[in-house]
Symmetry: C2
Subunit: 477 residues, 2 copies
């Protein structure tokens, strides 16, 4: 189960409480909050605690302070405004997305561009010094026998650390069902391969992480794309229909802080999802690489938390939270663990031993949770800064989907805008975005794009956002 709401420092508990009240409508836009002194008296917290809570909420954009007047609720966020995909269930006999994606990924590779299209978080957020020390320690201790011990399923202490993190959330995942992989991408690919043969049907989201679409093309599968909501995730009615109509072998979902949308499936949805999969005896590949980046008081649980039959292959990674370049991910693969080890032994043999050992060493030092805590706060502040800037300068017809976790913003522009065109135009000026065309096999998201909001807010990025707004304006005119 998730850590209780309100875990963390006292001021964070108080900030969470106030944020929930704003969300619930207890305080509405423009309302004046109780003064610091009033709040301290009401709550029993110290004046300093109340001040810290208010400052945190202000940094996150929930409230604003006005000199001599106090704290007021800031203008509402956009995430409540909804846009449902028009077609809820879309069969794809053939998936062909690779050439396009590859062009985009290559084009955005210039080191000096403003990489708002990047999928990676700003690497300066990672604890490089601590990782370097772990790497140096491991280097000194490199044993000649190290190789064999790091073959699939991978380094035992690392698998144990990961299992302990599951246990801390009330999930019973044995180190034996965990396979260490070359990032979550290899985990997802091996999972898909272990469950399907060419020509089989699988379920994906629409829009979807392009890695899913690429894997489906690469493995010559057929897919049913199910409408996915920017707030709550996949349309489970449409999923049920697909499971009845097609011989589905596996579903591929991002249940928490979806890429590119940002949405998280509520617990009730995850339970229904598991029930549907059990009924139709279908496996779930759960891509959960952003789950640790929650802004609320506790992490959203993965669907695997309700899995009693080893049906869920839960894929995680350190690439988005700790060490992008290490290429260390994993899959808690349930009954597929053995099959996945075999596939890995045949394709890449194993991930690099020093990288596995360095992460095991780092995790043993108990710095990870502290790092994650800081990372979440920073990402929340940065994301909100981008959000506010976009709200300020983008045309009012733009809808910005803000999720309480992860570092992506999903932006819907008026239908006449083509974000692929916007992409090429922006690239000329050294700015990248991730156009909607990357996340589907057709043009249905051509007016949308994903924006990486993990970068520090500065004048260069501010100028980039303004320039994007101008380029959108040119297309609108």
């Amino acid at each position: 189960m998730p850590a209780g709401r309100g875990a963390g420092a006292k001021y964070e508990q108080l900030a969470w409480q106030l944020r929930e009240q704003i969300r619930a409508g207890t305080w509405r836009v423009g309302d004046r909050l109780p003064s610091l002194r009033q709040k301290a008296e009401q709550s029993g917290f110290s004046l300093m605690t109340v001040l810290s809570a208010y400052q945190l909420l202000e940094s996150q954009g929930w409230i604003v302070s006005r000199p001599q007047s106090g704290y007021f609720v800031a203008p509402a966020r956009e995430s409540a405004r909804e846009t449902l995909p028009r077609q809820r269930l879309q069969p794809l006999q053939e998936v062909d997305i690779n050439a396009f994606i590859f062009d985009l990924l290559q084009a955005g590779d210039a080191p000096d561009c403003v990489a708002l299209g990047s999928a990676f978080p700003d690497a300066s957020l990672f604890p490089r010094q601590q990782l370097a020390r772990a790497l140096a320690r491991v280097a000194r201790q490199m044993l000649p026998t190290g190789t064999r011990a790091n073959l699939p399923p991978g380094c035992e202490p690392l698998r144990r650390s990961i299992a302990q993190r599951y246990a801390a959330r009330g999930m019973d995942v044995s180190p034996d069902e965990i396979v260490i992989t070359s990032g979550a991408l290899e985990a997802l690919n091996l999972s898909l391969q272990s469950l399907t043969a060419p020509g089989d049907w699988v379920v994906v989201e629409s829009p979807a992480f392009y890695g899913a679409l690429q894997a489906i093309e690469r493995h010559r599968l057929k897919a049913v794309a199910i409408a996915t909501h920017p707030r709550d995730g996949m349309d489970l009615d449409a999923l049920e229909q697909a499971l009845c109509q097609y011989p589905i072998k596996a579903c591929w979902l991002m249940t928490n802080f979806h890429n590119p949308l940002g949405g998280t499936m509520p617990d009730a949805g995850k339970q229904r999802l598991l029930a549907l999969l059990a009924e139709h005896r279908v496996a779930l590949i759960e891509d959960d690489v952003y789950g640790e980046l929650y802004f609320g008081a506790g992490p959203p649980l993965p669907a695997k938390a309700w899995d009693r039959e080893g049906r869920v292959l839960h894929c995680g990674s350190f690439s988005k939270t700790l060490a992008t370049g290490f290429r260390i991910g994993w899959v808690a693969a349930g009954r597929q663990a053995q099959a996945i080890q075999r596939l890995q032994l045949m394709s890449t043999l194993s991930t690099s031993a020093p990288m596995q050992l360095a992460l095991a060493d780092y995790l043993a030092g108990h710095h990870y949770d502290k790092h994650l805590h800081t990372l979440r706060r920073t990402l929340e502040q940065r994301k909100h800064a981008f959000y506010r800037a976009i709200q300020r300068v983008f045309p009012p017809s733009a809808r910005v989907h803000y999720a309480e976790g992860g570092y992506f913003l999903w932006i819907e522009l008026p239908e006449q805008i083509c974000t692929t065109r916007l992409y090429w135009r922006a690239l000329e000026e050294g700015i990248t975005i991730a156009p909607g065309r990357m996340f589907a096999t057709d043009e249905r998201y051509r007016h949308c794009f994903r924006l990486n909001a993990s970068l520090s807010w500065n004048s260069r990025n501010d100028a980039a956002i303004r320039r994007l707004a101008e380029l959108i304006g040119e297309q609108l005119a």
Copy 2:
């Protein structure tokens, strides 16, 4: 072109010259070599140089010293004795080898066994201190921008170092056609994938590295297995026949120090191979992970040296020569370089950035060639020690194929011996071997096995060889 014969220290040049004379029959078994003084006078080298040369040849088992009598040519090696596979060309509609291999690899995973079945060289032969220092240096310098620069095709300085090594051998390979991979295994898999679709025909050797057979099974290909000779490699007449009879898309060969046989295709064979492939417009996946481990004066060239059309995908690795656990290999992919980058971007994204950087750092230090020099000498001595021990205690009907490079011995036992049975029996006593069944899809090599001769020669390994001899004796009885 290879470094001129006789490169290296003076005593090594002299030793090489004498070895060639023994090979050519100038000196026969039992012949007394010129005395140290005579040889010094004849050759113009100093007495010390001649002594060093004789001692080197003795350590390698070419000559023996008899007190008060001088140096004599030791009993001849076995590699001249030939065994040709009976069937020169064998079509395989379906390849199914994985389950068996996996059982074997898992069973031999115990850390305290005598791993004569291992595919890895003894890791204590690697320069761990220097690699650790490189890793520590890289850790200190880890830049936040490191990630993007290490995406496919991989770290530029590392690709440049590899290209320079090709250049030193007279081969013109651009850094741009090199893709860094997770060991040679990923290079080979991506190469095969880039050239074929399920159902296509490919050529493999018989016997073959099991990774090739696994990849063929995994990608649902059909294969023609071509008889391969323990000394000279693939039967090119049979290959020509296969190219005429089947719509072959790609050939997968180990041209140098073949695994498991040890043989090397002569330069003339490589030229004919390239001509055949050009005529039939077929690509070559050249697995050359042992090429650096030559015992002669210069390295054998890969077939790629004669490639003028970008038809050869030359796969190399540091796993067998420098750093097993790093999982860094590459492919010089000719015209397939772009396709392979795309496939990698979809499957594992990239290899780990610190590992790539650490190897680039190590190679920049110019220690690699010195390390290789020592490694070759040590492997030659160890391999010969195993060879002699086996000759001493195995039944006379056993044929031991000794190649002038790599660290495998390929041993043919009488037909009634089943080496799979031998494998399980030996495993009970803490000894592993690589039975012939691993290297083909049928039972044709059931009486053969591969032995890892990279381990240091000591009483424990001596006892293991004696025990193997006894177990073979039991089966013969």
